[in-house]
């Protein structure tokens, strides 16, 4: 069973560092290999795992994640496989949340998904295209099940909007640092510190920064002002570029270790 998100952030704050949050799609490149890759990330220092639910129309994602979820879907990754992945990685000690576009959750059944995810040991969901206005059934389904609801803020969000988003958020606030899709960038957006500072004034929730972080140095830079550092495409890219599974395991482990050093302040 995962630790609740607030316990993770309490611990990392006490240790004087940011939490390291890593994303990998379930089923990528195959269901069994993804479990091993995620487990390797956790053993190398990732505090929270975002288990991605592969979707046919990932309109917030850049080329690396598009390619990865396409491979996962071709490998037969269904929602049940994602939930099974969550069960396996939490059994191995991970704190896991699911990252999913909204339609697969709605199709599975909002109540059913929440119940199965809680049973699998998952502690939350990030649904990047679910807005607070449309989240009524999801809030009802997650309340009382120990599932956190992570919503996003962006550089374009007004203060009023950030307040609205934070009012339905639990666990942590996902600060999307860049106006753009997922993917490694040579520099972390200059908008990130201002967005975090603005959000900080409006909520006491932990704030994690995502989009564009790929190196230990960038993680270190973000850890100076954020409670969590989210890395996705860089892990995916390591696996896409690996010659075989053993090499992929080594490469994601190396990256996780580098980032884990980076998030110390």
């Amino acid at each position: 069973m995962s630790r609740p998100l607030d316990e993770v952030f309490t611990a990392t704050r006490a240790a004087g560092r940011a939490a390291l949050i890593g994303y990998l799609p379930a089923g990528f490149p195959t269901p069994q290999e993804s479990v091993e890759l995620i487990t390797a990330m956790v053993h190398a220092g990732v505090d929270i795992i975002e288990v991605g639910l592969p979707y046919s129309d990932p309109l917030m994602d850049g080329p690396a994640i598009q390619e990865a979820v396409d491979l996962a879907l071709k490998a037969g990754t269904t929602t049940d496989v994602v939930l099974d992945t969550v069960a396996q990685v939490t059994a191995a000690g991970a704190t896991a949340v699911v990252m999913s576009y909204w339609n697969p959750i709605e199709r599975y059944g909002v109540e059913r998904f929440a119940a199965r995810l809680a049973d699998a040991g998952g502690v939350g969901v990030i649904a990047p295209d679910l807005t607070p206005e449309e989240a009524g059934p999801w809030i009802a389904a997650t309340t009382g099940r120990g599932l956190d609801r992570v919503f996003l803020v962006a550089p374009s969000s007004t203060d009023t909007r950030i307040t609205t988003v934070c009012s339905v958020t639990s666990g942590f606030v996902y600060a999307a640092s860049t106006m753009g899709v997922t993917g490694a960038r040579s520099e972390v957006s200059s908008a990130a510190p201002a967005l975090v500072a603005r959000t900080r004034r409006l909520t006491s929730l932990p704030i994690a920064v995502g989009l564009g972080v790929s190196t230990g140095a960038q993680a270190h830079e973000v850890a100076a002002y954020a409670d969590g550092v989210i890395v996705g495409s860089a892990f995916v890219r390591r696996i896409l570029d690996a010659v075989d599974h053993a090499s992929a395991l080594a490469r994601v482990g190396d990256l996780a270790a580098e980032l884990a050093v980076g998030v110390t302040r």
Binding site: L59, L152, A176
Partner: protein, 409 residues
């Protein structure tokens, strides 16, 4: 002309049509959608905006376009009195210009200098490129690679008009994937870019706004049929891809319960084959491209590929207002297969000297079916949403007409 008609279901929460519509988008787009909605709401109560758009419609688009009685074609529709609403005679050859002129004016009002657009058949891409040229805006059009092949003529037209055309090589390489790519562009460029969405789908306010700019079709058709037939029609008929031409025509008759609203979606090779774009026969409610609507999807919520001979109808979702009209029974939606559409295509060519777009041929096939059902006393308006020049190569291949040496044809 500036205000939306008050429709029976306009009391739904803003941007919603019963349980459909809404906004399912990454947070980065919320501010842009709010800005767009504000600009739209301000424009439609601004007489200057209405006057500017009306002047463009008159002097640039060529509105009002005629309502043409088609007696010989009507004989093939059970002898019904059939009239065509001639959106094919608009500048750029389809109804799409109505929407792009309105949105391009909004773009300049918002102080943005660039538009992006998705296109399937290329009609919307051409219209967007046209409006961009007219108003001095940069224009980028995303088009599925598969569609760039089917609609090579429209690709050339867009380039001649100064637009950049980006073939989309991921996913099914059709309209659905072009929309994904346009959304990805938009989220990264929203400061200076307006997403000129081409149909009544997408997050609020797009479905309402795009319908608004096409309501001119229904307004004109209603006046014209009253003048020509002395009464309201028994049915109004349109093809439904995303559904913008249909919403434009339907909007003129929504408050007239005696007028049947009939939408025809693409049955492709036949609904039973799985190769079709028949959302209302096989789709279930879900979320696609920012709105809740009927979506062709598998049991896990993954979008299924659609298929149609007509690139403009080849889309696995449908406008959320159509979903609502379907559920309430106010409009009736049926499928027309490729072969039935092409039979109607040939029929209109031969009986009336009008080459329709293959999209519009689905509506013509629907009228042939419906006319036989309603009988010779019936008055039917068919929205001829576009002309068929772009489809000549596809039609020639279908009917086995030799085109000479040009391999690209």
């Amino acid at each position: 002309m500036a205000t939306s008609s008050t429709l029976p279901h306009d009391d739904n929460p803003p941007g919603h049509f019963g349980p459909y519509g809404g906004r399912f988008v990454p947070e980065a787009l919320t501010a842009a959608l709010d800005q767009l909605d504000d600009a739209f709401q301000a424009a439609i109560v601004d007489p200057a905006f209405g006057a500017e758009l009306a002047e463009l419609e008159r002097t640039y688009t060529g509105r009002p376009n005629p309502l043409t009685p088609v007696l010989r074609f009507g004989e093939l529709c059970g002898g019904a009195r059939v009239f065509l609403k001639r959106e094919d005679l608009n500048h750029t050859g389809s109804h799409k210009i109505n929407n792009v002129l309105g949105q391009a004016l909004l773009t300049t009002r918002m102080g943005k200098t660039r538009v992006i657009a998705e296109t399937g058949a290329g009609q919307h891409g051409v219209a967007a490129a046209t409006a961009a040229a007219l108003m001095g805006l940069e224009c980028t059009v995303y088009m599925g690679e598969e569609d760039t092949r089917r609609q090579a003529l429209n690709v050339a037209r867009m380039k001649l008009l100064g637009a950049e055309v980006i073939p989309v090589t991921i996913g099914s390489r059709t309209l659905k994937d072009a929309i994904n790519e346009a959304m990805r562009d938009w989220v990264a460029s929203v400061d200076r870019t307006h997403y000129l969405l081409g149909t009544v789908t997408g997050p609020a306010p797009f479905p309402t706004m795009v319908r608004h700019f096409h309501e001119v079709i229904g307004r004109e058709a209603r006046e014209q049929i009253l003048a020509a037939a002395g009464r309201l029609p028994d049915a109004v008929v349109a093809c439904v891809g995303g559904g913008s031409n249909a919403m434009g025509l339907f909007s003129g008759f929504l408050d007239d319960p005696q007028v049947q609203l009939r939408g025809y979606e693409a049955g492709g090779d036949g609904v039973e084959t799985g190769r079709h774009a028949s959302r209302f026969s096989t789709g279930v409610p879900g979320v696609l491209h920012g709105a809740r609507t009927y979506v062709m999807q598998d049991e896990w919520g993954q979008t299924l590929p659609s298929h149609s001979i007509s690139a403009g109808l080849d889309y696995p979702g449908v406008g959320p207002e159509h979903a609502y009209l379907h559920d309430t029974g106010r409009a009736i939606y049926e499928s027309v297969n490729d072969d039935e559409a092409m039979t109607a295509f040939a029929a209109l060519c031969r009986t009336e000297g009008i080459i329709p777009a293959i999209e519009s041929a689905h509506a013509l096939a629907g009228a042939m079916r419906l006319g036989r059902e309603l009988g010779p006393e019936a008055v039917i308006i068919v929205n001829l949403s576009g002309r068929g020049d772009k489809d000549v190569a596809t039609a020639a291949a279908w009917f086995g007409i030799e085109l000479g040496h040009s391999e690209s044809m």
